[in-house]
């Protein structure tokens, strides 16, 4: 091909956009070391005091723990249900497959705010006690479509005759699922689980309307933004940035490995 005169411009633009995406995160990290409790640029001095304060905060430990519980339960349920749904639609959906899939994906078209308040009215109508369980139920609604989407995309490349071969060799429905379908879906399962985890771990709006006394980490940040004296927010934000960055990297790498493994 000829030399491409547009490419350098596109490259420069992309760099600028990445800068736009990351600069705010760096600013937050910078402010987390600010000695002054007033967020004024440029920062004065350098301190780790806000981090120390953060680690001493037991409410934060509780929130972190709650977030983990919610995220892990959400991952477990939405991955199990979502993979099952995708396989079910793929196998038995027949001519209703399209409609079933569209139905499963509708929550994606609904803003989180509305998912949250709809659940709140529902819980209100049935006088349900709000707890982490009601939060998890909402998070699963939010993540399930993503799991189904990811698993369905993977299943498009799935040769049905592999399942038939397993059946032909004497495997039962669940053996087929366990030994043939699931290994094939592994990269999708990993991707879906990671997706659900981050979505759930970061969710504030649905949680806001469905939680009772239990704070999750994003709710804690939200609450700090509403009531707190903010420098600690910078530190906790920086920590979440670093943690999720590391998590994303590990996830991405394991995902890529899983994909390489499955193409063999």
């Amino acid at each position: 091909m000829r030399r491409d005169p547009v490419k350098p411009f596109l490259a420069a633009w992309t760099v600028l956009v990445l800068l736009f995406l990351f600069a705010p995160l760096f600013v937050v990290a910078l402010f987390s070391f600010n000695e002054s409790s007033i967020s004024r640029f440029p920062i004065r001095g350098f301190t780790l005091a806000w981090y120390q304060k953060l680690f001493a905060n037991t409410a934060l430990h509780e929130a972190l723990w709650n977030s983990l519980i919610v995220a892990i339960a959400t991952v477990a349920i939405s991955t199990a249900l979502g993979i099952g749904a995708a396989v079910g639609i793929h196998r038995y959906g027949g001519r209703y497959g399209g409609a079933l899939r569209s139905f499963s994906l509708t929550p994606m078209m609904v803003p989180r705010l509305i998912i949250g308040i709809a659940l709140l009215t529902f819980y209100n109508l049935f006088q349900t006690n709000l707890s982490l369980l009601t939060v998890i139920a909402g998070h699963v609604v939010m993540t399930l479509p993503y799991v189904i989407l990811i698993a369905s995309a993977r299943l498009v490349g799935f040769d049905k005759s592999m399942e038939e071969a397993a059946w032909d060799l004497g495997a039962g429905t669940f053996t087929i699922f366990r030994e043939v379908t699931l290994p094939f879906l592994k990269p999708a399962v990993v991707a879906a689980a990671l997706m659900s985890f981050t979505l759930s771990f970061d969710e504030v709006v649905v949680t806001f309307f469905t939680t009772g006394n239990d704070n999750t980490l994003p709710m804690m940040i939200w609450s700090m933004l509403r009531f707190g004296i903010t420098p600690e927010v910078n530190s906790i934000a920086t920590l979440t940035i670093v943690a999720s960055g590391a998590f994303a990297l590990v996830a991405e790498m394991s995902l890529r490995r899983a994909q390489v493994g499955s193409t063999r």
Binding site: S37, I38, R40, I77, N124, N129, I136, A137, N213, R226
Partner: protein, 364 residues
């Protein structure tokens, strides 16, 4: 596991059985450890739905130290939010709240709160009589609270930028265009606009006065930087210099001064918006005795002193004020003789009309 924890864990009513089966089937019960830990912990804990000031870590630590009570605070930032949360299922979550006096009647009528046993409140004797005996704390002859604190929402200003301020005029002064903050709350904001217009009883305004108030607030909008929702918002705006004069809670003053901002606090001469707050049990709490114990504690001189030193809010307890150095009392501006300058909060005659007017102002 106690019944009560079961109730905390499980959705109640009609849907309980169905949901429970569903969730158990999904292995969801595995997600319960946080509540489980609560259950196994020695259960001297109170779910405390409160203003951020009263649930700050030092108060949690103080309650633990002096009473052995574990406060589990959840915060609200307006009385409306408190009411909405209680109605939306909060009565099943919380043991006690800290209502402002004007919400006692609606809360009691809506079945959201539980009366206190006057006999349990032995520290009541130290409370200023005009607060303790206020009819607003009693509904149908039952006592729903004895205030431990009193105060006013008023003007906070950046002394360096504005000099001394003494009037609501500062909030309407074009000099401070784009550097004024008001509270995103009709109960405060419509009332101060009314005071500015010279309306003496803001909470019983009629439609004509409301329209005037609306007009004033809309004309003021170009001057306003933002309407704050939470105390942190206004505090940050004052701290970072986004605004120089703001309608505010007193709570912002101490942290701002600590951060080196020379911030002034004044009850404008047209009047400030006064309030009392009390510990009040939430309807159906299983820990009424413990709530009463804590309520009584907040009326004690020790608590009042601790509170005044930490938050600069004024104790309702005479005995508490007696423990403070006179300079501090002066600095806090807690002169009980000034109470007459306050317009105490009340429920507006047509509350939803107030909300509408306020939304119209915001959308204008």
């Amino acid at each position: 596991m106690s019944r009560e924890t079961m109730n905390l864990l499980l959705p109640s009513g009609m849907s309980r059985r169905g949901l429970m089966r569903l969730m158990a089937a999904s292995g969801l019960l595995a997600a319960a450890p946080a509540s489980l830990r609560q259950a196994f912990a020695q259960d001297k804990s109170l779910n405390y739905f409160t203003w951020s000031s009263w649930g700050a870590p030092e108060f949690v630590a103080d309650a633990k130290k002096k009473l052995g009570i574990d406060l589990k605070p959840t915060f609200y930032s307006s009385s409306d939010e408190m009411m909405a949360k209680l109605r939306g299922g909060g009565t099943r979550l919380y043991d006690m709240i800290v209502p402002v006096q004007n919400y006692i009647e609606p809360a009691a009528k809506a079945g959201l709160i539980e009366p206190l046993d006057p006999a349990a409140l032995t520290n009541k004797k130290d409370i200023f009589q005009q607060f303790a005996e206020s009819p607003q704390w009693r509904v149908d002859g039952k006592l729903y609270g004895i205030p431990f604190v009193w105060g006013a929402n008023a003007i906070a200003y950046n002394r360096k930028e504005t000099g001394e301020v003494d009037s609501l005029d500062a909030l309407f002064d074009p000099k401070y265009k784009g550097r004024i903050a008001l509270r995103d709350e009709p109960e405060d904001t419509l009332a101060i606009a009314a005071l500015k217009l010279g309306i003496k009883a803001p909470y019983s305004m009629g439609e004509k006065e409301l329209q005037e108030v609306k007009k004033l607030l809309i004309s003021q909008k170009p001057l306003v930087r933002a309407y704050w929702k939470n105390v942190a918002d206004v505090q940050n705006m004052l701290a970072s210099g986004e605004v120089v004069v703001a309608w505010s809670f007193l709570a912002v003053i101490a942290p701002l001064r600590r951060a080196g901002v020379d911030v002034g606090w004044v009850w404008p001469k047209e009047g400030a918006i006064g309030w009392n707050e009390s510990i009040t049990p939430v309807k159906g709490t299983s820990k009424l005795k413990l709530v009463e114990e804590y309520a009584n504690f907040t009326l004690s001189p020790e608590y009042g002193e601790f509170m005044a030193r930490n938050t600069r809010y004024a104790p309702a307890s005479k005995a508490a004020i007696a423990r403070l150095e006179p300079e501090l009392v002066k600095d806090l501006g807690i002169d009980i003789n000034n109470v007459g300058r306050l317009v105490f909060k009340d429920i507006p005659k047509d509350k939803s009309r107030w909300n509408e007017i306020w939304n119209e102002v915001k959308a204008a």
